[in-house]
Symmetry: none
Subunit: 143 residues, 4 copies
């Protein structure tokens, strides 16, 4: 398994924030979690609201929890809301099931971490996460 | 950033309660939180029920969490209930997503705190919060 | 039982803060809880640190929990620390067992609420709580 | 009050990690919290163990909670362990009361955030935090 180093994590964040600037998005917050769901790096842009670490982490944690980007979790809300409720409960309340939590895969497709972004629309958040992951030479999986 | 002083917080509460009296509302409870979500001042009128501090704080905390008045959160309940559920979970159960949590902005539009009111209808609660904030010379943002 | 009204609660806070000013204490935070442990009123002076609502409430809640001012709880720490630990646990983590949580009694000695103060030394916090309660014509019981 | 921007937060982290390298310390984790206790930025060096975000945040959060660097909290353990236990409980388990949580003050001595570092000895963690804060032109207060 490739390691998701701090250097790569910072490259992901820098590229994601550059994409947000290019698209003229609202202030973003970006977290990188390792494969075990533990934070490697985080940045919250000036003007972003108070609870953005928790929201960004909730998207990324949810993706790692089920091995699918949080877009997949979001789709579950239509058909199986009780699954999401149970998942949130057994996670100890750590999951936010909307797009913007993107798995990071290495060349052999192994999950080596996840990126969570919040601040603009969920779709735009996800675009920035994918851009950041690919800028670091890794594979993004939005779900 | 302008500071939300105790003196201004008390002015907000006094004006909000006066508005409630003018409109002949039920007993109100009013909290003022600073920009970080920590209480500056609180008053619960006689006859108000037991858990009003938590409800008032939950409205104001939710507004600060996402940088939008709690009326915006309330609207999410129609389209994305699973987002609210996730938000509540990652906040540690600190959010009440109905109108009556109003952001306090300074002249440069920076968020310097939030007011939460509960006791009458959510719409009336919000009216009193807005009245209180404006009476203190600040800008109210209901969402 | 006499009711601990909002008017009396505010009188307690005002007198307590005046005492703090007279003694030239650090910024204080004062909470008044009703007999059920639920907040009636709270004020945090400018310059007081972030978590003062929780600390002030923890002192007052502890006093109500055992029917003795929090000075009594503080004394237990010497002889029975495991009692305090158990008490904290069964309260759901709501108790701070140092002086400054003072019971409010009516003329018949019934407990009608508690005042919690934090910001200066625990002894000075307690002096201000007692001063505030007596200024409202009620009886203070520091433990 | 001066804002603790993301740019300044990153400058603090970079300088703190450079100090760690200069002193040949173990892998460090550094968090910067704003004045309300919410994360602005975080970095965990490669080789650092799993729960370092929580430990670093616990030091910084404790400092903000009481308005004193976490070295002060650490000293309370000798004289008033039951105070620390109560403080931890009412914080919801968010405080780690050992050195390495350092307040960030602006020119007027207002608290604008806190830095928490973990990974080496608590004393060395604190040295890196102070170095980082001063490199950003701000004032460090270790407690």
């Amino acid at each position: 398994m490739t390691d998701l180093t701090l250097a790569k994590s910072l490259k992901i964040i820098t590229a994601a924030l550059a994409k947000g600037k290019e698209l003229d998005l609202k202030p973003l917050s970006v977290v990188v979690l390792d494969a075990g769901g533990h934070p490697k790096a985080f940045q919250r842009q000036d003007g972003a609201s108070m609870m953005r670490f928790e929201i960004a982490s909730g998207k990324a944690y949810g993706a790692l929890a089920v091995g699918a980007g949080s877009r997949w979790l979001n789709a579950q809300a239509e058909t199986r809301p009780h699954f999401l409720e149970g998942l949130s409960a057994v996670s100890g309340g750590k999951i936010v099931a909307v797009p913007g939590g993107v798995l990071v895969r290495d060349r052999k497709s192994a999950i080596i971490g996840a990126v969570g972004i919040t601040g603009d629309s969920s779709d735009n958040d996800e675009i920035c996460a994918i851009t950041g992951i690919e800028a670091a030479g890794l594979t993004a999986d939005g779900g």
